[in-house]
């Protein structure tokens, strides 16, 4: 059957089970958009800016685990998408991006809306393709989905010149694809796993450090089982929140720059560390030399060999799919005669509880005049029974959301951890709401971040997305101001937000509900009212304490045990 490249594209997406295609039309993708119009299997979601299309596809993928799919036109469509693509790349999110390109005969001639898409996106995709022949289109799309979703996931871009989408070819969708140059490792090495289990059981001061890889590998239940059977303390990274239930007593909180006192000190002082689906990045272990001042043996499980021994040397590297490795670990744990050293473990827990008793996340709850941002997140947790999908932007509000919303389930916490992209929160919340139309979705944001993709309020209106926007409005670029306070002598260079819009009116002008909340006593009521409006987007503009900072904090370049616990430490 002869089909056009455009029709082949849509058929392929339908074959892959794509529900939603987030995008924005333009000249180079007009044939594809014409086919979108003619079919009803793949639903197109029209965003207001290409960056948002990618973030929405990203939020969809993070929340439901299926690859996100987006489509943009050539030139500025692609360059606008780059921030979103890099965001997904840094957090290893499976995604396929279709981009239009100028016709093949015009490539390289500086044609209208031409950029070297493959060149521009190369450093921020797992892989990309330029399709020069319509006969290769179906196979290429199949490969794109395969590469995006296997191994360490990531965004894959398929660049389709306009004439390729117009040309005809015989269509048949390949049922599978093999690539001799791409064979991701699945099973971990059994011998290494055995060594790891032995090492874990010999530990006196063990620690389990789990990252986003556990969530991407759908292995939270296995991690939970391992932690509970051993009775060892567990911490999650910012990307790993929800991998282990936050309300469990074995959970010591998030670690890293704004991690808890107990998590960071346990990390620093443990004698055996199991790192699983995490990559020891600079926001997690701080200064690597300081980290190594206290010796410990490290087991590192990751699907990507290049993540191992990148920043820290490890003793037992295990390359493999987390689920397979974790299952094998459990099997070997059960087969082993050795048991954890109960006495040593009790002493270790006593130490951890002592650290925990510092109550490092305490804040002034008695203030009846000014809304504390932490209190808003705590109330959000209560009002939603801890069962909402929370997206965030980037800055102080992101850290407060991570610290105070206790995620018990994976895929509930959606944030740009690697790239730190302001503007991510609202569009990613849209993607989440499409994946879970009947669940509560809240975007925790700040008055600066929300303005970076504010135009998506229009998309929320068009598709009736009942997202609740929790704006922690402190009239500052809070995290910038915090660093200026700590490291730049209180010189608040360009970090004050003047000329803010009236967010209530702004929300209303888009057809949404807007609320401005100024008193601590109104916080809970406003949240309850907002979530009761089940079919409306609600913009909650909380006027929060302008001076509040995020603590604990490991200042840049410092070690994990050199934390500042609060302003009294300054």
């Amino acid at each position: 059957m002869q089909l056009s490249g455009a029709e082949i594209t849509l058929r392929c997406l339908a074959e892959e089970g794509v529900e939603y295609l987030f995008g924005y039309p333009g000249g180079a993708v007009l044939y594809i958009y014409d086919e979108i119009f003619k079919q009803d299997k793949v639903k197109h979601i029209l965003v207001r800016h290409e960056q948002a299309a990618i973030h929405a596809a990203d939020g969809y993928a993070r929340s439901c685990g299926r690859p996100g799919v987006a489509i943009v036109t050539s030139g500025p469509g692609v360059t606008n998408a780059v921030t979103g693509i890099a965001t997904a790349y840094l957090d290893s999110i499976p995604m396929v991006i279709i981009s239009g390109q100028v016709p093949t005969r015009a490539i390289g001639l500086d044609a209208f809306q031409e950029v070297d898409t493959v060149g521009i996106t190369r450093p921020c995709v797992k892989h990309n393709f330029l399709v020069k022949d319509v006969n290769e289109l179906a196979t290429t799309i199949k490969k794109a989905f395969y590469v995006a979703t296997s191994g360490r996931p990531g965004p894959v871009l398929v660049d389709i010149p306009k004439d390729v989408s117009q040309h005809l070819a015989e269509y048949s969708y390949p049922s599978s694809v093999t690539m001799r140059s791409y064979n991701p490792v699945i099973k971990g090495h059994a011998g290494q796993i055995k060594k790891a289990v032995q090492m874990l059981l010999e530990a006196k001061r063990p620690m389990i450090y789990a990252g986003g890889g556990v969530i991407l590998g759908d292995s939270s239940h296995l991690l939970t089982q391992i932690v509970r059977e051993l009775g060892y303390p567990c911490t999650n990274t910012l990307m790993g929140l929800g991998a282990y239930p936050a309300t469990d007593k074995l959970f010591v909180g998030m670690l890293g720059m704004h991690g808890t006192y107990e998590a960071n000190l346990a990390m620093q002082n443990c004698d055996v560390l199991l790192a699983i689906g995490a990559r020891f990045d600079d926001r997690v272990i701080g200064n690597p030399e300081h980290f190594f001042q206290s010796g410990r043996r490290i087991i590192h499980v990751d699907i990507d060999p290049s993540s191992i021994s990148k920043r820290v040397k490890v003793d037992v590297p295990i390359v493999g799919n987390i689920a397979d490795v974790a299952e094998e670990m459990l099997k070997q744990l059960h087969a082993s005669d050795a048991k954890p050293d109960a006495q040593a473990l009790a002493a270790w827990w006593k130490q951890i509880e002592e650290w925990r008793s510092r109550d490092c996340l305490r804040f002034d709850r008695s203030n009846t005049e000014i809304i504390k941002p932490q209190a808003v997140v705590e109330k959000l947790y209560e009002v939603t029974n801890g069962d909402a999908y929370i997206t965030s932007d980037v800055g102080q509000h992101q850290m407060w959301a991570a610290q105070y919303y206790k995620f018990d389930k994976p895929r509930r916490w959606i944030n740009s951890g690697g790239l730190g992209t302001m503007g991510f929160g609202l569009p990613s919340a849209m993607g989440v709401q499409f994946a879970f139309p009947n669940d509560m979705v809240a975007c925790v944001t700040g008055e600066a971040s929300i303005q970076m993709c504010i135009q998506e309020l229009s998309t929320c209106k068009q598709y009736h997305l009942p997202i609740k926007i929790v704006n922690l409005n402190n009239r500052y670029l809070g995290m910038v101001r915090q660093w200026q306070e700590l490291q730049h002598g209180n010189r608040y260079s360009e970090s004050y937000m003047e000329a803010l819009p009236d967010f209530v009116k702004l929300a209303e002008s888009y057809g949404h509900v807007g609320m401005k909340i100024e008193k601590p006593s109104d916080v809970e009521g406003a949240l309850r009212e907002a979530f009761a409006l089940k079919d409306r987007t609600v913009f909650l503009d909380f006027q929060t304490d302008q001076t509040e900072n995020v603590f604990p904090m490991v200042p840049g370049g410092k070690g994990l045990s050199e934390m500042i616990l609060g302003s009294e430490d300054l």
Binding site: V118, R122, P123, L130, S181, Y182, P305, S306
Partner: protein
Amino acid sequence: MRHILSLLLENEAGALSRVAGLFSARAYNIESLTVAPTEDPTLSRMTIVTSGSDDVIEQITKQLNKLIEVVKVFDLNEGRHIERELMLVKIRSEGKDREEIKRTADIFRGRVIDVTDRIYTIELTGTRDKLDAFLEAIDSAQILETVRTGASGIGRGEWILRV
């Protein structure tokens, strides 16, 4: 330490730029890079000469392996290997110098491949050190132009790198 990495990669447009981009993006050194198709036209063989600590070389190897179009990566330093580089050098050769330059080229097993009344163009093959030594043996003022291919490497004996 200096390492010679041998790669087999898909002979596709863009594969070279992925490798080159990786080196610049991650601030790895690159001393030379050569690439050409193999006897199997779907594959290219690339030789990269780089340098770095063992940790850096390990990362380079892993990152190269991660590129989708890279089929195999070998660090030739892990075994016995042979390294060759081709150089073409244009030398001003007039009067009494003419004989001396020809003799020096012979000592280095070089071949004169083009001659004018004022110039010899000499072809020389060998390790980097040998080519460097030849250039040092010639008065630098006489050297008009040099072209070097960068090293190509191959394992010794039974050590065969193929898919």
